[in-house]
């Protein structure tokens, strides 16, 4: 069914995944976060969303890090659709269609 190696692997990985997810939910209840920390946290969404996009915008090549041009070419109209429609579903659908089309041609 499952090897003991996989069992220990899953257990270990589960513990290290659960800790960062759950610990703040436990301790934020008992302490009041300082104003400056709350302000810092208010910038996290914008930063992390950008990071999760930028992660794919750049690719490693033998000479260094360069821009993934096709990704950028699809990203720009996707952002325009997001600004225009303000809809998560529509943006995702159009984005996937655009990427599918781009891959079809290139």
């Amino acid at each position: 069914m499952i090897s003991s190696f996989m069992m220990w692997l899953i257990l270990g990985c589960m513990i290290v995944t659960v800790i960062p997810r759950v610990v703040p939910f436990i301790f934020v209840r008992s302490i009041e976060l300082p104003e400056v920390v709350l302000k810092w946290l208010s910038f996290i969404p914008i930063c992390i969303f950008t990071a999760l996009i930028a992660e794919h915008l750049f690719i490693h090549t033998t000479t260094g890090v360069t821009i993934h041009w096709m990704y950028l070419a699809v990203l720009v109209p996707t952002v325009v659709i997001a600004v225009w429609t303000k809809s998560l579903s529509l943006t995702v659908l159009v984005g996937v269609l655009l990427m599918g089309t781009a891959r079809w041609f290139f």
Binding site: P24, A51, A54, Y71, A82, V96, M99
Partner: protein
């Protein structure tokens, strides 16, 4: 519960949970395609269907599940895989810390539940909801989280079963679903920013892109995501008037 009994419960009792399920829908294409891809990768990394199911049930984190497969293939030791998983998922600490202050009025048990099922996607949808409504409801959050969780597990297993029929899922552009979603979430969160603050927030986006570009020369992308976010959030605090 039978239909007769259900009638006596006011409809508002169920509404936030159902609304949570509904709000999860836009993220599902991303979840499903990544989960499905994970099933395929898992099978090709010699994992059994059981391994795939248990990884998605107990770890429930896309990026680290892929990295676990990659490290298994290269024969990495247990300790290295666990340490890497920890670093990859450390980003959740920031998400959890950002979200947690909005749920302190609910019980500890419920808060642990929010934490266990926290993902980049559910965080994004929740912050978007928060910007629109000013507060977050527990049942709404559970509806969102549980839908995402079950769909993720189903997609991973289906990928493991049917994966070998689809030779190249990337060709369909499905891998872009998550990027498109984060782009939309970024745009939506910028749209809730007051006009006077917009230039400041846009400058942070620019700093993020530059910082990511620089960091990617030196560290793996999951470390870059974590470091860049912490650096630029700090710049944000310093430069905000």
């Amino acid at each position: 519960m039978d239909i007769e009994a259900r009638k006596h419960i006011p409809s508002t009792e169920h509404e936030p949970f159902l609304e949570g399920i509904k709000d999860c829908v836009p993220t599902l294409l991303g979840y499903m395609s990544i989960g499905f891809a994970f099933g395929i990768v898992g099978i090709s990394a010699q994992l059994s269907l059981w391994d795939i199911a248990l990884l998605s049930i107990f770890i429930y984190a896309g990026a680290s599940q892929f990295i676990i497969c990659a490290l298994l293939v290269t024969g990495s030791p247990l300790s290295a895989i666990i340490l890497t998983t920890f670093i990859v998922n450390l980003r959740h600490l920031l998400l959890s810390l950002t979200l947690a202050p909005h749920f302190t009025r609910y019980s500890l048990k419920q808060n642990i539940g929010f934490g266990l099922l926290l993902t980049d996607e559910s965080f994004g949808v929740a912050m978007n909801k928060l910007a629109q409504h000013g507060k977050l409801n527990n049942r709404w959050m559970h509806g969102l989280n549980i839908t995402a969780y079950l769909c993720w597990i189903a997609a991973c297993i289906l990928g493991g079963i049917f994966g070998h029929w689809i030779s190249n899922p990337e060709a369909l552009g499905l891998d872009f679903a998550l990027s498109a979603m984060f782009a939309a979430l970024l745009v939506l969160s910028l749209q809730t920013v007051p006009k006077s603050k917009l230039t400041h927030r846009l400058s942070l986006v620019l700093y993020m892109v530059v910082t990511m570009f620089v960091l990617l020369h030196f560290v793996p992308s999951h470390v870059a995501v974590l470091l860049a976010t912490m650096i630029v959030a700090t710049i944000g605090v310093v430069t905000d008037k």
